[in-house]
């Protein structure tokens, strides 16, 4: 059985707000990404998985247990980093971690110490005076120190500097390597692209697409964007038998897709043209969803 199953989940807050008929399955050991704009329903979905909200329709199952009815039991194998960081009214980060360990019935703080070292976090600071990044790190430690099977993260990298973000993403990859099931939401495509097996796009409370990142990152072919200095070369090049995936006549630009084995033949041909520049176009989840939405005709900004 899959670790997280969401069946037909609906919570209508009225006025088009809420989530509607969400269906998701997260397999054991899978890293599942959840992307969408502010207010699109990411957090609401996560709150249902955590058992904080009662589904209007449908259900959430975590390891086969109803998340609402067995809310406290599922926490035995679920770790959570909330989207909004607010700590209990305690003086220092150390006190908070100690209290949290007590609530988790956790005796061994070895893992916590290790995480603190990795994130370069000094928890003796006053909780109220911590910077957003420090708070986020504290929240990450509080959540990860227990080593449970399922990890649920609500926009975990907000507030982290780029270096720390990288460290965090490495941590996630390590957790993934241990075989943990991870469900994370984010507004940033690149970090999901880097870590996730699958990514769902949620718009206005509905899941519009689920992308299989591994399949999309097709490594056998490459794409190149080429701009010519004049229109003649541009029209001449287009007549050659290359697969054009994008054509921008206005700028004399074409984007061609070519099998890795045939790259040399492309560059041989290009020597005959007056080329302004050539650049490789890497795979991007952002572009993938943008393309998808354009095809849908919505053209909404993501």
């Amino acid at each position: 059985m899959d670790d997280i199953i969401i069946n037909n989940l609906t919570k209508d807050y009225g006025g088009g707000r809420g989530i509607f008929n969400i269906n998701l399955n997260v397999k054991k050991g899978e890293v599942f990404g959840f992307v969408g704009t502010n207010g699109s329903g990411k957090t609401t979905t996560i709150r249902h998985i955590m058992g904080f909200l009662k589904p209007q329709e449908g259900e959430c199952l975590v390891k086969g247990l109803d998340a609402w009815k067995k809310s406290s039991e599922i926490k035995k194998f679920v770790e959570y980093i909330p989207g909004e960081i607010a700590f209990p009214d305690l003086p220092t980060g150390t006190e908070f971690l100690k209290s949290q360990a007590e609530l988790l019935n956790l005796k061994d703080m070895k893992r916590a110490d290790e995480l603190l070292k990795r994130l370069q976090l000094d928890t003796s600071a006053n909780l109220k005076r911590m910077s957003k990044g420090m708070k986020q790190k504290t929240a990450i430690v509080a959540s990860l120190m227990c080593d449970k099977d399922i990890l649920i993260l609500d926009e975990p990298t907000t507030g982290l500097d780029p270096l720390m973000r990288q460290t965090f993403l490495e941590l996630i990859k390590e957790e993934k390597a241990k075989g943990k099931t991870i469900f994370m939401s984010s507004q940033m495509f690149d970090e999901l692209e880097e870590t996730c097996d699958r990514v769902a796009l949620i718009l206005d409370g509905k899941i519009v697409n689920i992308a299989d990142v591994n399949k999309l990152k097709d490594t056998s072919s490459r794409s190149y964007k080429i701009e010519f200095n004049n229109v003649e070369d541009y029209t001449k090049f287009k007549k050659l038998k290359f697969k054009v995936v994008r054509d921008q006549q206005k700028y004399n630009q074409v984007t061609v897709q070519i099998a890795q084995s045939k790259i040399n033949s492309l560059f041989e041909e290009l020597t005959k043209f007056n080329v302004k520049f050539v650049s490789e176009v890497k795979f991007s989840l952002e572009r993938y969803f943008k393309n998808f939405l354009q095809k849908q005709g919505g053209g909404k900004n993501v």
Binding site: M50, E73, K75, P82, E84, A86, L90, L103
Partner: protein
């Protein structure tokens, strides 16, 4: 059902608030009890009470003076009539002689009785019928006298036996009136003896006075004599009584004696003035009702002379318990509740709604802790904090009462313990209510404005209601303000009933406890079922 870690968290989050409120309230309480205790705030009340006690005594002294004055004069009247006993016997003799001349024979025993009856009836109306002597009495006495005369006794012997009969009658009558008035046996005997003495002295004065002999007695000649006699006697009585009382200096006894003499003199003059007034208005006749009215007017005290409302207000002020008001109704029901209320409002909100609103509750709920465990733990903490707070206040108040004089203090240990219990139960009810609001609402602003708002509303109503309640003297009371008391939960903390020694505060305590229990339970159940935006 209970989480030690969460309990510790709550203690750490709230202990500074707890300490501040507990220390501040304890200090206030100690000041109220100890400092005000030394200021003797009940002095005003005691002074007023003295005034009213003295007013009662004043009335009594005046009444006694007037009664004794009247007794003195009527004794003279009565004795003067004894001079007419010769007329009575002569009339009888003449009647018998007439009977003989008419019928030719002496009257037999039964006929003699009839003649005696006629003569006695004729003369009985001449004798004064005061001090318990009725005309029927007089008639019976006259018949006895005529019988004695018939048996050959001398006029002087008859007079003497009459005198003794009169003294006894005065004594018996005075004793009867005193007992009817609710006086104890000793006082009644004392006053009856005094009355008999007045009668005796009056008659001996009459005997000494040659001018009064025969038919020359004039009542008006004796008015001043009677008054000065009574004045002297009142002075002597008071002085002799106080002289033997321990702790009263001779000078003081003399002062009181003079004061009594003055009262006697004033009342008798006033009485005479009224009697003259009635006499002039009624062509020389004064009815019994008018005499009684004159006596009442002449013996009025300060409180009788004040307008009824003012007298009532002053009486109430005299009976008011300043300590009960300040400690019970102002400290325990208002001032002492304010800071614990602030603590309860803030803490109850912070224990649930505040944590849901900020989102920090997510950390607790992401551990295998049930919602029920959270609510029960937070409830236990809130009750625990309140309990320790009031345990400290109880210790402070008991210690303060001990310092202020222990059981001699205006408020005893039992009352102070009940005050603390009542305040605790009141706060328990508010804690339950605020906790319920905290459990129902996800937003601090709603939890605070409804839970805290209604709690403070209750307090404000109690403050306003104080001006309409029985503890405020009627001179300052605005009865309409009493309606505010019906809007406040604190009204169920009935300090007046505790001080009165009644038991109605007990069922009110029960309601307060019930309100607390029910609201806590509603809060716990509601929190289990609601959506949490974490």
């Amino acid at each position: 059902m209970f989480s030690k870690a969460l309990f510790k968290q709550s203690v750490k989050a709230n202990w500074i608030k707890w300490l501040t409120v507990t220390v501040a309230t304890s200090v206030m309480l100690a000041i109220v009890i100890i400092v005000l205790g030394n200021l003797a705030i009940n002095d005003i009340r005691d002074a007023l009470k003295d005034v009213f006690i003295q007013a009662d005594q004043e009335s009594e002294i005046k009444e006694n003076s007037i009664d004794s004055y009247n007794l003195y004069l009527t004794s003279l009247d009565t004795y003067s009539m004894f001079n007419f006993l010769g007329f009575v016997t002569t009339s009888y003799d003449n009647a018998v002689a007439e009977f003989e001349s008419e019928n030719g024979t002496k009257p037999n025993e039964q006929q003699k009785q009839e003649i005696m009856n006629q003569v006695a009836t004729q003369f009985s109306s001449l004798f004064p019928t005061q001090n318990g002597v009725t005309s029927e009495d007089v008639k019976q006495v006259l018949i006895t006298i005529l019988t004695q005369h018939e048996n050959g006794e001398s006029l002087d012997a008859i007079k003497l036996s009459m005198e003794n009969w009169y003294y006894n009658t005065v004594y018996q009558n005075a004793y009867k009136l005193q007992i009817e008035d609710g006086k104890d046996e000793k006082t009644a005997v004392l006053n009856a003896t005094f009355a008999k003495m007045v009668a005796t002295d009056a008659i001996s004065k009459y005997k000494q006075d040659a001018s009064a002999e025969g038919y020359g007695y004039k009542r008006d000649d004796y008015l001043l004599i009677a008054r000065s006699y009574i004045n002297t006697k009142m002075y002597d009585n008071t002085y002799n009584l106080l002289k033997n009382v321990q702790g009263v200096a001779e000078e003081e006894a003399r002062q009181y004696a003079v004061a009594t003499k003055v009262l006697a003199n004033t009342s008798i003059s006033t009485y005479e003035l009224w009697i003259n007034e009635y006499k002039n208005a009624g062509d020389g006749n004064v009815t019994e009702e008018q005499k009684a009215e004159a006596r009442r007017l002449a013996s009025e005290s300060i409180s009788d002379q004040l307008p009824e409302k003012v007298a009532e207000a002053l009486t109430e002020l005299g009976n008011m318990d300043m300590y009960g008001l300040i400690i019970g109704s102002i400290f325990y029901r208002i001032a002492g509740l304010l800071l614990p209320m602030v603590f309860v409002i803030m803490t109850a909100n912070g224990l649930l709604a505040g944590q849901v609103d900020s989102g920090s509750m997510a950390y607790v709920l992401s551990t295998p802790t049930k919602r029920r465990t959270i609510t029960v733990t937070q409830m236990v903490y809130l009750i625990f904090a309140l309990f320790t707070m009031f345990a400290t206040l109880t210790a402070t108040s008991v210690l303060s009462v001990f310092i202020a004089g222990g059981n001699n203090f205006a408020i005893n240990y039992a009352e102070i313990l009940l005050f603390n219990l009542g305040a605790f139960l009141t706060m328990f009810a508010f804690a339950g209510f605020c906790f319920m609001c905290s459990a129902i609402f996800n937003r601090t602003k709603y939890s605070l404005s409804i839970g805290g708002g209604l709690t403070i509303f209750s307090l404000v109503c109690t403050i306003l209601g104080l001006f309409g309640s029985q503890v405020v003297p009627s001179a300052m009371r605005i009865n309409a303000m009493d309606y505010f008391n019906y809007l406040s939960l604190i009204t169920l903390f009935d300090t007046v009933s505790i001080l009165d020694g009644g038991l109605s505060y007990l069922w009110k305590f029960g309601i307060l406890f019930g309100v607390g229990v029910i609201t806590f339970i509603i809060g716990i159940f509601r929190f289990d079922k609601k959506d949490l935006p974490l």
